[in-house]
């Protein structure tokens, strides 16, 4: 995109205001693809336990770019562009599976699970000097942290651990030190801009999700902290069990069983731009998100057990994961409808205003209370700078 065509948007002067139009403008979305999704950020595309065996693969999408994540026969998990090294045909059409080789049906070029070209018919008639060695499946830059596989399509992205910064320990505490075992997926599509999902805040939780009040379920001590350089948000809190309740007959889905080194701890990390990592009660959840277009966002809720959990613990995790915090969860279903309505409402003029927890409209904070909405503002400032939007002087 040449500089002359870069879309502009005037950002309000006050730190707690955001222009609503950025949720709905297609030209902004296209710029986000370039600057964020294909830009100098890391994007989580899989957890190693989703592809546990040699040959296991998963397909995913970042910024409209199709990706193929493969547990290669040599044990390494690699990420390839899902596109034949020959004429660019999509290599794998399934969302998951197991293959030792990947063949493009168009001209039968065949690749090993390590991406090397191992077969190409009629190669004696190819251009002079042709060598298979020069035509592996192409890869974006790949890195791994806590068994999470990340990619970036930019050479300018700093090393992954630097990019993760202060939320690194929170991720480690959320996912634990022992290996995880995949329990399954809930895949849904929201009729909303991707930024509405990642703008979900601490203020709304006890208000929108009535189950908290009905259960008299109050959080223990907690805090949100911000990575002022990269837009990540971390949350740490105590888990307080629900007391006696007559609201539900089966209270086991709101019980807490796990005994691990971080007992009593809830951990949430929202990585910029869209990945969510959640450890709450006995739920271990990663939310992989695809910004499909300006008004469609796909979210894959992926749930895990610990590999060494006993049978009853696995059962507890399955029941709680399915019914509590996902798209049909007791304390979360309402979010999807709100995303939808934010998208409709954002087609009106003016700004979205943040109030709860805002102590000054002139500066950002690196730590706020657990039920503040101001925790998102540092992320918005990072977004604004990344997108090159000027802040109004008045």
């Amino acid at each position: 995109m040449s500089e002359i065509n870069v879309p502009q948007m005037l950002w309000p002067r006050n730190m707690n205001e955001l222009p609503k139009e950025m949720f709905v403008r297609e030209d902004i979305f296209n710029l986000e693809r370039e600057r964020i999704f294909r830009g100098a950020e890391w994007h989580a595309v899989a957890h190693a336990s989703e592809v546990p065996a040699a040959g296991d693969f998963k397909t995913f999408d970042v910024g409209g770019v199709p990706l193929l994540i493969v547990h290669s026969v040599d044990g390494v998990i690699r990420v390839f562009y899902n596109s034949c090294a020959h004429r660019g045909n999509q290599i794998e059409t399934e969302t998951f599976g197991n293959r030792k080789t990947f063949q493009c049906p168009y001209h039968r070029w065949t690749f090993g699970s390590d991406g090397k070209l191992i077969g190409c018919p009629n190669s004696d008639q190819y251009s002079p000097g042709f060598s298979r060695d020069n035509y592996p499946l192409n890869s974006p830059r790949t890195a791994r942290f806590c068994d999470l596989i990340f990619i970036t399509m930019s050479q300018d992205t700093p090393p992954l651990e630097d990019w993760l910064g202060p939320v690194k320990d929170t991720i480690r505490e959320a996912l634990g030190d022992s290996p995880l075992r995949l329990l399954g997926y809930q895949k849904v599509s929201f009729k909303a801009n991707w930024k509405a999902l990642s703008d979900n805040d601490g203020y709304h939780a006890p208000l929108l999700h009535k189950a908290f009040a009905m259960l008299k379920w109050q959080g223990g001590k907690g805090r949100q902290f911000m990575d002022m350089n990269r837009g990540h948000i971390g949350y740490e809190g105590e888990i307080k069990p629900v007391g006696q309740t007559s609201l539900v007959k089966d209270a086991s889905i709101i019980s807490f069983r796990e005994s691990d080194p971080f007992k009593g701890a809830s951990r949430i990390v929202n990585l910029f731009p869209v990945t969510g990592i959640v450890k709450h009660l006995d739920i271990i959840n990663i939310r992989f998100t695809i910004a499909v277009n300006v008004e469609d966002t796909e979210c894959h809720f992926v749930y895990f057990a610990k590999a060494d959990d006993d049978e009853s613990m696995v059962r507890q995790r399955i029941r709680q994961s399915s019914n509590l915090l996902g798209p049909c969860g007791m304390v979360s279903m309402e979010d999807a409808s709100i995303f939808h309505r934010i998208h409709i409402g954002s087609h009106t003029p003016g700004n979205a205003i943040f109030q709860k927890g805002v102590r000054s409209v002139d500066r950002l904070e690196s730590e706020v209370g657990q039920n503040d909405e101001s925790g998102n503002l540092a992320r918005w400032e990072y977004y604004r700078k990344l997108m090159g939007f000027a802040r109004s002087a008045v």
Partner: protein
């Protein structure tokens, strides 16, 4: 292959009609009453992708009678007034019915659900197959378990009501 009696097939089809009528008219008490009163009566709503991979996570995991009852509480007490409502219409086709034991049948039924939000534009919500265990009781047939296995890999918008 044990062919079901014509009378039992009639009772099973009547059960399916009661199930659909209950959901499409949002009578969730009547929905729960299509399930056996046994403590282990179960309703699951799970993706075909998870089933194929032998992964247990479901969209709705009501593995006991109490959980089925609690789903009514989710819908009518907890989530009420937080979402834009929508109408549903279920369309079904029974494809398989086999007697497992006396008065117990395994039944498979294709389903599609169309939905219409308040703004009026109708669309497909989800497509899949019900895999059921049905018991013939004194006053009619009921689900011992119903598994709504949906083909739709990515569900649209938001889901409030059971499939």
């Amino acid at each position: 292959m044990n062919r079901p009696s014509t009378n039992d097939v009639g009772l099973i089809d009547d059960l399916q009609a009661r199930y659909i009528h209950a959901l499409d008219s949002k009578n969730f008490r009547a929905w729960a009453d299509t399930f056996s009163s046994a403590p282990d009566a179960a309703y699951f709503c799970i993706s075909a992708e998870n089933v194929e991979r032998d992964l247990p996570i479901a969209l709705m995991y009501d593995d006991c009678r109490d959980r089925i009852e609690d789903r009514i509480v989710f819908i009518e007490k907890i989530w009420v007034d937080t979402f834009q409502d929508y109408r549903t219409r279920h369309f079904i086709q029974r494809t398989h019915c086999d007697a497992l034991a006396s008065g117990i049948y395994v039944v498979e039924t294709n389903f599609s659900i169309l939905y219409t939000p308040e703004t009026g534009r109708s669309d497909v919500q989800v497509v899949g197959v019900y895999k059921d265990e049905v018991v013939i009781e004194a006053d009619g047939a009921r689900f011992k378990s119903r598994r709504a296995i949906y083909d739709t890999v990515v569900l649209p918008r938001y889901i409030v009501y059971p499939f």
